[in-house]
Amino acid sequence: MFEVISNEVLTDNVHRMVIKAPRIAKSRQAGQFVIVRSDADAERIPLTIADADVAAGTVTLIIQALGDGTRRIVGIEPPDGLKDVAGPLGLPTHIEKWGKVACVGGGVGTAVLYPLAAAAAEAGNEVTAVIGGRTEPLVILRNELAEFCDDVLVATEDGSLGTKGFVTAVLQELLDDEAKRPAAVFAVGPVGMMKAVAEQTRPYGIKTLVSLNPIMVDGTGMCGGCRVTVGGEAKFACVDGPEFDGHLVDFDELASRQATYEKHEKHEACRLAQQLNEMKRGQK
């Protein structure tokens, strides 16, 4: 049992949970994830570790509750606990001192982006966060990112906050301006968004890293369900990733594989599947 220390609602159905997991807190590096099960019958859900406190022995998870598995997880309040938290899994993020770095987050992808941006800033990069969502309440971690980012730019589809439109439009402004053009880009969000960002940066030859969240079971390389094609080769996101060179990822195949269970899931899950697939990667 992994004790839930706190469970706060950030916005809408997005929760920030602090979990007691001393071993994971100690060994965790930015970019890694855990596999979580709320209770004995639950699915194994991969979730990015947003932050860790070694002294307190805790990890922080930011979770958007959309499917059954994530809704059960965020339904657990202190002093109860989560049945299983396993990790830290995956390779740590690859950080260099590039100079200017743009960190682009869509929806709950911003939660995955957060530790990457923090690590990039920590390494001495000048970090601009470009985050977005459908509407203002869905834009998360704006203040938290502002603590270490040089700039936090926001785009909402309905124009309720920041630029009206997609994060890609804001990123394009940075790319167009030679003085602001990043040397490296992190992009985390729905598959379509990451694909769009990769296509945007490709002509500039800008290093573009994406963090993928394919369907996963064990998270330790055992099942191969999370395989993605990167540069023509099959890679397992759980052990070779989750971070990959965005210019080499086959995003169409990833999107197709993420939809595997759409038509197989039960009635209620079916209703949520479309939404889930668009937003699923945000759970990580």
Binding site: R23, I24, S27, R37, D41, A42, E43, R44, D68, G69, K83, D84, V85, A86, G87, P88, L89, V217, D218, T220, G221, M222, C223, G224, G225, R227, V228, T229, A234, V239, E253, S256, R257, A259, T260, Y261, H264, E265
Partner: protein, 472 residues
Amino acid sequence: MSSNDLTPKQRLAIERAKMTEQAPERRVTNFEEVNQGLPEAVAVKEAQRCLDCKNKPCIEGCPVGVRIPEFITALAEDDLPKAAEILLTDNALPCTTGRVCPQEVQCEALCIRGKKGEPVAIGWLERFVADWAAQHADTPKLFGNKPAKKTGKTVCVVGSGPGGLTAAGELARMGHDVTIFEALHATGGVLRYGIPEFRLPKAIVDREVANLESLGVKIECNVIVGKTITVEEIMEEFDACFVANGAGLPMFMNIPGENFRGVYSANEYLTRVNLMGAYRDDARTPVVRGKKAVIFGGGNTAMDSVRTAMRLGADPAIIAYRRSRAEMPARIEEIQHAEEEGIQFDFLVAPLEILGDEDGSVRAVKMQRMELGEPDASGRRRPVPIEGSEFELEADVIIVAIGVLANPILTNACPALDLNKWGNIIVDENTMTSISGVFAGGDIVRGGATVILAMGDGKHAANQIDVFLKNI
């Protein structure tokens, strides 16, 4: 009549018992165990077939060295407590091995009665005695019949599969303080995620694990050695370590179309069904329930996969194997059961490409017929493609069961461990790795092997760890 009164001639006259099985047409509709076990009278009579011969070759064939003639003789006398005591002393997981061991190439292959006629059904008798012990006796008491004096030494066992469980049981009985780290959320390793309920009910795994816990073995799940904790950190906390983390990295065929939806590694397919319970209607983890399933491979994992696919509604469920029936490495009983259940076997075929529909779901596989050519390095005749023999096989589920490679998570985080070119851990004759006090066994050393070989390694390693601990 007492067994002692039987003459060899009378023993030779007894015919081998028949296993009680669920009828094929019924069992393909459920996940209950296929073999129902022998009734006591049948088991006792089968035990009386044993000649208790002088050389006891069967023991040589057993990787854990069970005193087979001794427990069988006790059973022949209908002395079940004695039979159970002998078996449980020698074998930590007899309910399991009685079901999943390839007896036909081990103990039963060497049985003297097999030279003329059929060998004694050692596996079925093992199962009978083990199940009896579990049902009739206070098993932990039997299991740990010699209360161990605590040595004060601590051992960490990595992995709760057959190798880890066996080592943990042996070490606990020697009085050492044992902690198992398991990466998944549930114990048992391949016994839990790999072998289906219809071949090894999970209640048995639960019971075998409970036996270990009653011996004082501590089990911590969700600890991924190499990620959550490293081998070096383990050795700071423990006096010795036994690495039995298995071979969990599935091989794919590297043909076009392998990433279409509905193409699984056997590991993923079986894990979804067995560990995550996807065969149950109320399961939260889904699996694609195909109507037409094609499985590549010829081992036990391929048989488990194809029979699972049929139980989940696939018809046809086809084994596609590139050699012929004789070369299939699966247990004979599994092949027979599969045939009875209506599994189709397509031999001497190889896949060229997996074909998908517009959604990206698999719809068929393009195959090629093979013929057997000259023997290869393994001595088996090598399959050679036949020109112009291509054909398409419709499928909406494809399961790749062609083997596993060493999972590198633990070893990558521990560069001091010497590995062979396939990434398996190298051990000496005492099962010790290149790090003093760190031992290893099972699939991470052998590559993909069997439950019983992993158990043999666990038993051997426990003895060597005991020696090591006495000298530190």
